[in-house]
Symmetry: C2
Subunit: 202 residues, 2 copies
């Protein structure tokens, strides 16, 4: 059985949980508390030398890191990853956009607020991070004004990857009111068959 090393409050972990649920793949989930350094132990670094969750362990013990690479692996051969060469490359474009232009400016502000608190010195980073977060949301909004889903006209891992932290943007002090097409897309994603929520209290 697959083992997912995970942290419940991680949107990157949630991406994997959401796709695993929609694919109906059973797995064991092992919770590691990033705030307590549980991803930096010698045992875990042997699984992922970069010391991050999520990390997926396969039946043969092989470990795969990076949430979006895990999505590609799990979705390979399923309708969640497009088969056509160009559409697949467009899905990858959005996955790289998510990690480079979105995650540091939507997920990291949320992390600072929820895990460090409003009196932490890292609050100094917030204005620039939120400026770039709004820039990323603007790029998404412009695309979603003309498309129901990010690529290929249907729900794919590109939507899963971008949904994870975008649907928690309010927890990052990012107001989604100016992005109506994006909000309609969030609702479409949440209405997909097999959708699961991120946190137990949601």
């Amino acid at each position: 059985m697959l083992t997912l090393y995970d942290y419940l409050d991680s949107g990157n972990g949630y991406k994997c949980r959401l796709l695993l649920a929609q694919l109906g793949i059973p797995y064991e989930r092992i919770e590691l508390d990033i705030d307590k350094g549980e991803t930096r132990t010698a045992d875990f670094l042997a699984k992922n030398p970069n010391g991050r969750v999520p990390t997926l362990q396969l039946d043969d013990g092989t470990c795969l890191a990076e949430s979006n690479a895990i999505l590609c692996y799990l979705a390979d051969g399923t309708p969640y990853w497009p088969a056509e060469r160009l559409v697949r490359a467009q899905a990858l474009q959005w996955l790289f956009f998510e990690q480079y232009s979105h995650e540091p400016y939507v997920a990291t502000p949320r992390y600072i607020l929820r895990h460090l608190g409003r009196t932490h010195p890292r609050m100094a980073e917030m204005p620039e991070r939120l400026r770039r977060g709004r820039e990323a949301l603007g790029v998404m909004e412009a695309h979603l004004r003309m498309h129901d889903f990010f690529v290929g006209g249907r729900y794919s891992i590109a939507d899963i990857a971008l949904y994870a932290y975008t649907h928690r943007a309010d927890e990052a002090d990012l107001d989604l009111a100016p992005y109506p097409a994006l909000r309609a897309w969030l609702a479409r994603v949440a209405a997909q068959p097999g959708h699961v929520k991120m946190l137990p209290g949601d």
Copy 2:
């Protein structure tokens, strides 16, 4: 013919140039000076709403952004992107590692030093960026102590993506002396058939 919107000093652009050369694919290269805002014009934003080079324009006018997505597109069906599901996912793992854990801490310090200069206020970011840059180089070094190439026992787009900024690390104030396995890998990559250098003066 393919058109590559590019900037010569960009390692992200160089990734595409290197693979295009090794695949023997002819293309037109259009230079956009990022320091002069040439990637933020209305014309270019219509091609890539995220306003970044490299961007690859296909024969039918479709534009593909994100250097690593462009690598995947170009390498699809060639020996540069592994065919096996797990090895392909491992290549993607390193491509996402490159964009999230390496590029902001190896490429950005180089950008600050070469394009903004040592008196710019953004020099304040250098210590933390270089600390994380050394962390990323350490993860690569540990992997390369046991592997000749990043995945599948042979040269692939994972090597191309990580080579681009790593081989200019000295220009980012990152000393590669403590990473002998990484330096041997740089030499192996530079010795691949069809290898081209990044800048005319190299």
